[in-house]
């Protein structure tokens, strides 16, 4: 799996310099030390959107446990994005997704993208698209007939990213403190 040709329109629109393709592969337990900080960066970003997304003090240990459990679960998907060229062997992003049963609806299984994170320098240039494609394929291979992305309701960047790629709101989660 290597990155597809970069979308020139995207690069031109953002005015960024050379594209930074990535390479995606299934993550291994040995990747955990590199994956945990990336997952934490994502959770800390989520803090920006809602006080009910305040990160716990023990989040680092939790991140390790959650990812380790998913790595051991054949129904879950954990992908590691590596740099290429001089950044080869460096993990610069991750995807964490699971497959859930849908007892009442068709299709009967959904793939849920829980976490998707790329270091800022590796964003744009079509790499998000590539990551999503690889994730969707991995979820399909595990029996999912629909792919769902979960992210903070106020994250407009994520909303725009998914909307551009054919995603639409399907269920909503509204919250208040107790």
């Amino acid at each position: 799996m290597t990155a597809p040709a970069e979308a020139p329109a995207d690069a031109a629109a953002t005015g960024e310099s050379s594209p930074r393709p990535i390479h995606v592969r299934p993550a291994r337990p040995a990747d955990l030390p590199a994956l945990v900080p990336l997952l934490l960066r994502l959770k800390r970003l989520n803090e920006e959107f809602d006080p009910l997304l305040r990160v716990r003090d023990d989040a680092e240990g939790q991140a390790r446990e959650v990812l380790a459990a998913s790595l051991a679960d054949p129904k879950a998907v954990v992908l590691a994005a590596e740099g290429v060229g001089p950044d080869r062997d460096r993990i610069v992003g991750l995807v964490h997704a699971i497959v859930r049963e849908r007892p009442f609806y068709q299709p009967t299984r959904e793939g849920v993208i829980l976490d998707i994170y790329l270091l800022p320098l590796y964003r744009r240039h079509g790499v998000g698209e590539y990551l999503l494609k690889e994730t969707s394929e991995a979820l399909r291979a595990r029996g999912a007939g629909v792919v769902i992305a979960e992210f903070p309701a106020q994250n407009e960047i994520a909303s725009r990213f998914y909307a551009k790629r054919g995603f639409r709101p399907i269920t909503a989660r509204h919250a208040r403190s107790l």
Partner: protein, 478 residues
Amino acid sequence: MAESAAAPIDVARESRRSRRRPNVAGRRRSETARLGQRAVELSRFYAGKIETVPKVPVRSLRDFALWYTPGVAEVSRTIQAEPDTSFELTGRWNTIAIVTDGSRVLGLGDIGPEAALPVMEGKALLFKWLGGVDAVPLPVRTRTPDELIATVERLAPAFGGINLEDIASPKCFGILEQLQRRLPIPVWHDDQLGTAAATIAGFLNALELTHRSVREVRTVLLGAGAANLATARLLLALGQDPRRLSIVDQRGILHAERTDLDELELHNPWKFRLALKTDGGGRTGDLGAALDDADVLLAASTPVPNTIRAEHLRRMHPEPIVFALANPDPEIWPDDARAAGAAVVATGRSDFPNQVNNSLIFPAVFRGILDARARGIPDAVVIAAARELARHAHDRGLTATHLLPTMEEFDVFPHVAAAAADAAVAQGLARHKLSHDEYLARARQRMGRSARLVRALLRARLTPAMPRPGSGAPGGSA
């Protein structure tokens, strides 16, 4: 700077410093207090700094059949048929709005639109006096950037240009970007573009003076506010290598892997993009790390002397260029910077050589783009103005203490205006295309006229003479 708090302060050096400049800060504070008191007194006496004055003859009330109804209806019909004739048949071509939400006024912070009014009046006076531009102070009560954008969009039909003023960073970037995209007239934010253009002019001459080239220099920007982010963009447009450009803020060097980057992408995408583009100039760490072997330091941060210290400058490449532009107190005093080896030093102050002053730019740029009836003001126009300003100092002989024209060199400004107008033509944005010499002649005439007008009003006693301090004279023009 977080970085400066960590380093020990050399007590002996501190005491030498205070001997060299006995109580400068104290003297300055009392002088500022005196000026403030006098300004309140004069504001009460004159009750405002500008007024509208007819520019056509009125021989009798009968003339209003021409200036007003019924004659004026035909003028309206002409404009209705061809809206751009509003630039020929009304004062629109020479009228701009000075728009602020009062969210970051001078060093006073978010003081609200009413309190911003005297500052905007002062700016309008500068626009008229230096540039011959009719500027309308327009503080507006808006809460969100979208409200401000919508407000200015609705006001645009009356104006030939918009000057945004004293709007907090980072919302000022999005407001400027949106309005530049939407309006058919030039939109300028002086705290970004005026300051950046004056900085660039000084920077180009400092490079020349020290035999450096923009493509090769290692440059450090200290501060990531409105002015420096605009300066960074202009530097890159001039050919500065992004991997030799380090932007430093309170958290140190701005690079692509800083943990606050995700937050920046949400709240300050302009700073975020520069973080990715420069990636710290290939460095991480504090100001000292950024300055290692750097050629240029452009500081526009906080007005705290000693933010930049001698040992910082000693880490730079020999004969460094140091701009300490914080106002009123520069980040390092010029004599300290020179003692630490700086070859060229500039500040934002008029009492030191090499004042980087946005007043060198904005009246002239507006004069030029209004004379061209320009549809916009892209960075190419800003850079053309900066280059022209630099050229004049260059032609008069560059030295370490003559890097930029001073405000007294009035004859330079029409040239800067003509250069801006030429650039608008070259960009295909001029509604009114003239030759360089024609733009220059117009700018000279317009820019000279205001001073004559003010003097004539004073001579005719239509403007009362300034009352003596503390005379408690009642309002003169109220």
